[in-house]
């Protein structure tokens, strides 16, 4: 993008806006603030401060009447500075700036005092909370003296969109945006889109076939003229900011030319390995594949790929290469190298999904130790008609189980693993219980802590299962073991559990154990977060801007999140979030531009000594040195407003709008104005 697209504000030519006439407003926020802060006292205190023309308190400042109060005062009393003491500026700064602007005041003459998140909600002593509120108020009132009128800065939005992750969330978002006529780059790490949903057989609670509802969407993505689909690809680099991100995508080599391959799979038949002998990742390693393979029949795109780890030619270069001979379209290229694509997009949606908990980390359940202990994802593949056993449920010993135990909350709601509830496990366990019962007529036991079935039709599904004769045992399972206390337990897996309904410990022998593993963030969620400059929660989920009001936004403008990368979610929730993220993106695109904080820095040339110490400090290379004038110069279009150079400038010639030195010094002074005097008072009290 070019700097011309940014409306520039004047460099250091602010004029003072006359003698300050400050309006101060303190908000009760119902009882949220008023219960801990003596709002009237703060109002009276502010009224006595220099420069304050009017001081008021009001129940809800952010409400329409609250805003109108400010606007009326601006007009009638000629106010030229506004200070509101209420909640966090991250919540309502924008609201009040808009209100001031409507009344004809430059919005940057407004300043906000946070006396809710920073005061009333975190303190329980009314006296000291009120004192703190007053200090913050005085600081703000001293600060606005130095505020200057600033011009708004806006940047245009590139209408192209990047979506990372081609699961159901990414697919939905991509189709929504593409159908609106905007171009989407959909980047997926795996060789096919579809994500976890493509592995499932049925979906709860309606039991409709996952493939039947997903694969048409996958084909639409592939066929859509507005979608560029890059599978087997990863985002390598991200630069820029909202409206104009420069992204580099690495297309990993499949050793097959995607455009030429038609998915006839003759090469797979022709492979020198007559038997498939390598574990098939898509089938959770329950079946084997060849070094050249396609993840599953409906994979999108329908393109085969090579696994260089197992292909003989990659290892020894001594293969007869029967695969190449078999391809009449000459689509196989064993010399393929990674390809790097540079794209420009205005907005990004991250829908990178989740991973399931590694059940080996809960050794008491014997996963990895006893062959007949399975994870739920493995069972999903087993019951799937297109899975490794064509939908027949048999244990690794090859027997059809007569009894199956499903253990809930494996890795979830567990102080030793993850504390959170994974939200989907109760429901998918019920679904699997139904399917196992249907396929094998086995006795099925569900071992649960609490049944959590909030959702449309979910509780009804639970009711239905109970009438189907599935057993429910309430209690967290202590262990799964292979030793026998009584003859009935010989050659079985015994589940030991405290049945909290009957108040006794039970030992239930079964042929097969299913572990309902929880959902956790992907291992590289941290790398993704750094790449896109967003935040993660402590658990590692991508952090939304606001848990209720901005659930798909992040703290970085133009980057949105959808689906289970933000937290455990079922399919309907993921799809809804994807829709919301798509709407956010489209709203930015149709606005055409976005307003930015005018908090950039500029250099007062007269003071600049040309020492160049600011130049290497700027991470955006926004500062350059003018050999002619021997002065440094800041390109405002590149400046992001961190203020690091301002703090580093030895001659104090750099100023940051909204955060200039005198503003901050006056804030410090305001906070501490009577610190010395108060000390004397304390001394006097004890004298």
């Amino acid at each position: 993008m070019s700097e011309n697209n940014i409306k520039m504000n004047g460099n250091g030519t602010h004029k003072s806006a006359g003698t300050p006439k400050i309006g101060f407003y303190v908000c009760h926020c119902g009882h949220n603030i008023a219960s801990q802060v003596d709002v009237e006292d703060v109002q009276k205190f502010a009224a006595g401060l220099p420069g304050v023309t009017i001081s008021r308190d009001y129940k809800y400042m952010c409400s329409d009447p609250g805003q109108e109060l400010i606007q009326k005062d601006i007009k009638e009393l000629g106010l030229n500075r506004i200070v509101v003491a209420s909640c966090s500026p991250l919540l309502h700064e924008h609201t009040f700036r808009k209100a001031a602007e409507k009344a004809g005041l430059n919005p940057y003459f407004f300043h906000m005092v946070n006396i809710r998140e920073n005061v009333s909600w975190v303190h329980d002593n009314r006296e000291s909370a009120t004192k703190k509120a007053k200090d913050l108020t005085r600081a703000a009132i001293q600060r606005v003296f130095f505020h200057k009128p600033l011009e708004k800065k806006s940047v245009p939005i590139n209408p192209d969109v990047l979506i990372v992750g081609g699961g159901i969330a990414g697919i939905t978002a991509a189709l929504t945006i593409a159908n609106a006529g905007k171009h989407v780059y959909l980047v997926e790490r795996e060789p096919t889109i579809g994500g976890h949903m493509a592995m499932f057989d049925k979906t709860f609670p309606t039991l409709d076939c996952a493939a039947c509802i997903l694969t048409p969407k996958m084909s639409s993505v592939k066929a859509h003229p507005n979608i560029t689909l890059w599978t087997y690809s990863e985002v390598e680099k991200v630069e820029g900011f909202v409206g104009n991100y420069k992204v580099q995508v690495k297309r990993k080599p499949r050793y097959v030319i995607e455009e030429l391959c038609v998915g006839c799979m003759e090469c797979i038949d022709a492979c020198i390995y007559k038997e498939a002998k390598y574990p098939d990742e898509f089938n959770q390693k329950l079946s084997k594949r060849k070094p050249i393979y396609i993840p599953f029949p409906q994979a999108t795109p329908q393109v085969v790929l090579f696994d260089p780890e197992t292909c003989i030619d990659f290892k020894s270069h001594r293969c007869k290469k029967t695969c190449i001979e078999s391809c009449d379209r000459k689509a196989i290229d064993l010399k393929q190298v990674p390809e790097y694509k540079d794209i420009n997009v205005g907005t990004v949606i991250l829908s990178t999904g989740f991973k399931t908990y590694n059940a080996e980390l809960s050794p008491q359940y014997g996963y990895g130790k006893y062959p007949n202990v399975y994870t739920s994802l493995e069972i999903e593949r087993l019951v799937n008609a297109s899975g490794p056993t064509s939908g027949e449920i048999v244990t690794r010993d090859g027997i059809k189980p007569k009894s199956v135990g499903i253990i809930h909350c494996v890795g979830s709601r567990d102080q030793k693993a993850h504390k959170w509830c994974s939200k989907v496990c109760c429901m998918y366990s019920l679904k699997l219980a139904h399917l196992i019962k249907e396929h094998t007529d086995a006795e099925v036991y569900n071992f649960y802590i609490d049944m959590r079935t909030p959702g449309k039709g979910y509780e009804e599904f639970y009711d239905k299962l109970m009438t189907e004769g599935v057993h429910f045992v309430r209690g967290r399972v202590a262990e799964v073991s292979d030793w026998a206390l009584v003859p009935e337990e010989e050659n079985k897996l015994t589940i030991r559990v405290e049945d909290t309904m009957v108040g006794m410990v039970r030992r239930i022998p079964v042929d097969m154990v299913v572990l309902a593993v929880g959902l956790e963030p992907r291992e590289d969620a941290g790398d993704m977060r750094r790449l896109f400059n967003i935040s993660c929660s402590n658990e590692g989920w991508f952090l939304e801007r606001h848990p209720k009001l901005a659930p798909v936004n992040t703290f970085t403008d133009g980057i949105f999140i959808a689906g289970a990368c933000q937290g455990p979610k079922d399919i309907p929730d993921s799809v809804a979030q994807a829709g919301a993220a798509a709407a956010e993106v489209l709203s930015l695109i149709s606005a055409g531009s976005i307003e930015l904080e005018p908090n950039t820095a500029f250099i007062t040339e007269d003071n600049c000594s040309g020492c160049k110490s600011c130049i290497p400090i700027c991470p955006y290379t926004a500062i350059s040195y003018n050999e002619g004038t021997k002065k440094a110069y800041i390109n405002e279009a590149l400046c992001k407003g961190c203020g690091t150079c301002v703090a580093a400038c030895p001659s104090g010639s750099i100023t940051q709008n909204l955060f200039d030195d005198e503003e901050i010094f006056s804030e410090i002074d305001g906070l501490l104005k009577f610190a010395g005097i108060e000390l004397e008072e304390t001394e006097a009290e004890h004298a």
Binding site: S88, P89, L90, L91, N114, R116, E117, N118, V119, W121, V122, H123, D124, N125, S128, A129, K131, K132, D135, L136, A139, R530, N533, S535, C536, S537, N538, L543, F555, T556, N599, I617, P619, K640, G641, C642, G643, T644, V646, A647, A648, Q656, F659, D661, I664, F665, E667, I668, D669, L671, L672, K673, A675, G676, L679, E680, T682, E683, H686, A687
Partner: protein, 167 residues
Amino acid sequence: MPEKNIKSNYEPKIVAFFCNWCTYTAADLAGVSRLKYAPNVRVIRIMCSGRVDPQFILQAFASGADGVLIGGCHPGDCHYAEGNYKMLRRFRLLKRMLKDLGIADERLRLEWISASEGEKVKLVINEMVEQVKALGPLAIPQHLKNINEELKHFPGEEIREEEMAHA
């Protein structure tokens, strides 16, 4: 003056500089989560910890702060790539200078607190308030005032005033 009495009633004043993206957001989270912490800290919001000029810190002490707390994003997580590292460098240098000035180590603290660490805001603030409370008032404004008082009785001052009058 019973010094012990003063200490028990003494409430330190701490000025904090929190970066907009991580620590300020974490403080908001602490609020939303209704975590309770000591009311002695007054927060100034800045965009990045890299904006914290050492002069701000010195000015805060000179104006009567008993402690200064700086909160930034964790290393590698800075919203502006590396502003927090820049702060860290200045912080180290400033610490040496404060030591020479006789300002105790606990009075200036730098913490990396991410947006999700509301709990850490509480822990850090409570711990720092305890530590500074134990140190007692720094009271630089009072010291400056006392020095001025003393200087009034310093003959050199009279001579200087005389010289000034002549000049």
